[in-house]
Symmetry: C2
Amino acid sequence: MTVGQAAGERLIRIGEVARGAGVSVRAVRYYEQQGLLIAERSPSGQRLYRQDAIPRVRFFQQMFAAGLTSRRIAELLPCWNSGHTDAEQRAMLRAERDRIQAKVDDLQDALDRLDEVITITDTHP
Amino acid sequence: MTVGQAAGERLIRIGEVARGAGVSVRAVRYYEQQGLLIAERSPSGQRLYRQDAIPRVRFFQQMFAAGLTSRRIAELLPCWNSGHTDAEQRAMLRAERDRIQAKVDDLQDALDRLDEVITITDTHP
DNA sequence: CTAAAACCTGACGTTAACGTCAGAGGCAAG
DNA sequence: CTTGCCTCTGACGTTAACGTCAGGTTTTAG
């Protein structure tokens, strides 16, 4: 029961998705272009999204912040959509996890060096 | 006694700096262009560096990894060189520290989400 | 002395995730 | 009906930290 597809779900337009997720309209179109977000179209051609598009876009932002490319996210989307993974996808998940962990460690080191300087310059005006 | 300027310090060329710090020669030239690294010149025009150029370049890499731009690093260089700071520099240091800390938190959140999926896909093949 | 390796100065190319602009429809309110 | 806001499709622009290539000089190993 991953996807609750109620019959009368209210579809929303791109502007509402963008505002809801805190990104630009351009960004949402870009995600579609990258195969991350599929939209229905109204008779006149306007994009129509289900409401879970908003948390999805937030999730994309989170992954972008973690350094994943849109290509990589697209490759891993099935892991979230279906919960099913093959060996290659599991390997990619672990690789990204390890890369992010390494990045966290690097940032922590940088943070320590900055704090070091801050402490020195504060106690030694 | 920050800078030990021994009379007969062996100067090294750009290739040795690059290899020692694990970056490309191009990168070292770029740092000079950005005002991060000053080099003497041999009579024939080749760049000559003191050996502490290597840890300096490593430090730049660390700051780049932390998301600082070369401009920002250049603005904060006096904090490391002289240990002296003005109010503006201290504010910048704190701003960067906070930004990096926020980034660490974001990465940790992303890490948790990835681990969540990894756990699920591992226990539910 | 010579050939390879290293260095020099431009200067254009790359990448990712959008920003921005142009020109043209579409949609609810008054 | 028209005003104003939203949306559409292209398509070029942006940014940072380099990569890469061209064409020429310098240093070093043998």
